[in-house]
């Protein structure tokens, strides 16, 4: 692959639990092709699955008439993943306290933030939520 070419892959999944595995496998395959280590690929797959779950369960409220969009952007030294929902409701914003087993809800965003190199959550102009995640090749 030429180093200066940006490549992207776009996937749409139904807002139905289980389809996050399609997105995580696609992200894993792209990362493997780029040369990420097995450990980093596992981190990416978990983060992508959790972002999709947030989008399915919270953003789209499990409404099967909605979709979750996943865009994988392959850059020379990194892989960016944008996960976008249709914004039926904003994401929950509650801090998680690791080490307290009784505080067991909302682990998804905690995992994403701990497994990826860059994470941004934003509200889209059309009302959807977007999670933008980046994982770098050089780590």
């Amino acid at each position: 692959m030429a180093d200066d070419v940006k490549r992207s892959i776009e996937i749409h999944i139904p807002s139905e639990l289980g389809y996050e595995k399609v997105a995580m496998e696609a992200a894993g395959a792209a990362a493997k092709r780029m040369g990420f280590s097995a450990d980093r690929i596992q981190n990416l797959k978990t983060a992508v699955a959790e972002a999709c779950l947030n989008a399915i369960e919270h953003g789209n409220k499990l409404d099967v008439s909605t979709e979750v969009g996943i865009v994988l952007t392959i850059q020379p030294a990194s892989l960016q993943v944008n996960v976008t929902d249709e914004g039926k409701q904003p994401f929950p914003d509650r801090p998680i306290q690791p080490g307290r087993p009784e505080d067991h809800r909302g682990w998804g965003m905690f995992l994403i933030q701990n497994l990826m190199d860059e994470v941004q959550v934003s509200a889209e102009p059309d009302g959807g939520n977007q999670v933008r995640m980046v994982i770098h090749l050089d780590k």
């Binding site: 450990d39 978990t46 959790e50 690791p98 087993p101 905690f110």
Partner: protein
């Protein structure tokens, strides 16, 4: 699409063993709870969970596991886990679960840890 979680429970004198196979997700909550109830049915103090046949564990599954770990702690039971891949061992440490369960590599290690001292 999710691979349904199934549980098999074996009880011996000093250790109840829960063998899970499939995905540990939202759909697993009842299976996890029921397997734990079955494991402690005769009042055993030690419970080990085998994850060696679980390829996918997500945050909802982690929440379900945390639920039974919390219950076991409250009841004064000792919880052990084994068969987790290195990735999920890392996740268990990340969410703090490793502070409340004993992380073992193999079933033999879990059995050895709860073995009563020989007279």
């Amino acid at each position: 699409m999710p691979e349904k979680l199934e549980a098999r429970v074996r009880r011996s004198n000093n250790l109840a063993m829960i063998h899970f196979s499939g995905d540990v997700t939202t759909f697993a909550e009842d299976v996890v709870q029921n397997a734990y109830r079955e494991a402690i049915r005769d009042g055993g103090r030690n419970v080990a969970i085998d994850f060696s046949a679980c390829e996918y564990i997500n945050s909802a599954g982690i929440a379900a596991i945390i639920g039974v770990v919390t219950e076991a702690r409250r009841q004064g039971r000792r919880m052990l886990v084994f068969g987790l891949s290195p990735h999920y061992q890392k996740i268990f440490r990340m969410v703090g679960l490793a502070d409340y369960v004993e992380m073992c590599t193999t079933e033999a290690e879990a059995v050895q840890r709860v073995k009563p001292p020989e007279a």
